[in-house]
Subunit: 226 residues, 2 copies
DNA sequence: CGCCAGGTTTAGTCTAGTCTAAGTATTCAT
DNA sequence: ATGAATACTTAGACTAGACTAAACCTGGCG
């Protein structure tokens, strides 16, 4: 099996991000996320299907096969290990490591990746709180929900932060919305789309859009089943 | 100026390696070193010339312009910093870091490169003894000669080791031919192409080919002018 | 002095990944 | 049910970087 190209690795990663459980993902969503035209997506899905990395029913979107998911998870592992390295070893801020990891993930050899992982003591989470898949591709699954789905009065702990949006991340960091932060929802005005939450004693007011990508663990009397 | 492609960076680096003072380098030599066909070289030299990175007189070889040399030296800097990092931080042996550096040099951003450099305290030499150009592209020039050019009885110190040949490097390491090693030439039988040298009290016998790529500083009563 | 073998360049082809423009299927509203 | 809007695919083209085959210089030898 020849190693996959950078493009193919990114397509698989996107497919995994948009449909982690193997849900079908539609052409336009992929095109949008990869900043590529829809015909390019169709074309590439054809090649990935020929390599049995995805299945592609015309006009019904594509889904990862087991093989494709393995490759995707491997890329997620690489990405997260690299981000952790950039923060813990090279001293970057977690709001500015995504783009470098996005490139490096394709060009680091396995031995270098594993050496970096070893150097850091095999971390379980990246700097944004995302779990790092282990070498066998096992991902610790967690029971999180979007912060924006909480109701008034709810308490929760911030666990994961979507890392692809630099400025938004910097803003969150500044207001204390970082992994581990305790939050309480003071008020939800659904009609106006206004959230008023409390984080570290401070009051923060935003629209739901401004919370997009913050995942929390609800504190309702211990772990909740979904 | 759009960033140069990986290929172009490698062509410039090769041109610099084969003609560090701006000497003309002939198509076939480049083709051989880059493991590419001669027509590919001609074609690429055309593009590099269009970008004013080289001058190319048909059938007379190509030479780096000042601009081209700047780019080349920048790549050498990247390569050597990365090799140093792989050895000092990630714990690899210096006989096995070249190939990874050869790829990574093209894909690490400036900020990551500088962070790595800072982390190591701005090393002046890579693990093979080669000087690391500084950020402005200044290279410390040294007065070295090939070990194989020494005469019987000469004493010298090994300073630089050509790093592109893994097995050869491993062999040198094993016999004690490493940067800093003191050597004495016991015997040179030019007709048979046999070198008998002493390194760290041990006797080593090779042909001149087996010493290709070892550069030494001669110990004849202090620094010698060339 | 001319010819020929080598090395170099030209010409044409291929692959991977992208694009735009055009055609087609699906869905949803009238 | 029919047509319009929308989304997807097909068709065709472009780029960078490689290759092979063929044409072309040129320097050294006879
Ligand atoms: Mn990331
Ligand atoms: Mn990527
Ligand atoms: Mn090297
Ligand atoms: Mn390289």
């Amino acid at each position: 099996m020849p190693k996959l190209s950078r493009s193919k690795q990114d397509y698989l990663k996107a497919l995994y991000a948009l449909g982690p459980e193997g849900e079908a993902v539609v052409t336009s969503r992929l095109a949008l996320r990869l900043a590529v035209s829809p015909p390019s997506v169709t074309h590439m899905l054809g090649q990935l299907a020929a390599q049995r990395l995805v299945t592609h029913a015309p006009r019904a979107g594509a889904r990862l096969t087991a093989k494709g998911r393995r490759e995707a998870v491997e890329m997620v592992r690489r990405h997260r290990i690299l981000e952790t390295f950039l923060v813990r070893v090279l001293g970057f801020d977690w709001s500015e490591v995504h783009d470098d990891a996005e490139i490096l993930e394709h060009h680091i050899s396995d031995r270098v990746l594993e050496a970096i992982d070893r150097l850091m003591g095999h971390p379980a989470e990246d700097p944004h709180g995302h779990p790092i898949p282990d070498r066998r591709g096992r991902v610790r699954r967690r029971d999180l929900e979007p912060l924006s789905s909480l109701r008034r009065g709810a308490r929760a702990t911030v666990r994961e932060i979507r890392d692809a949006d630099g400025p938004r991340m910097a803003r969150w960091k500044q207001t204390g919305l970082v992994p581990g932060a305790q939050v309480r929802v003071r008020e939800v005005r659904a009609l106006d789309d206004v959230f008023e939450i409390e984080v570290g004693g401070k009051r923060v007011v935003t629209g739901s859009e401004g919370l997009e990508g913050l995942m929390v663990e609800s504190a309702k009397g211990g772990p909740r089943g979904q």
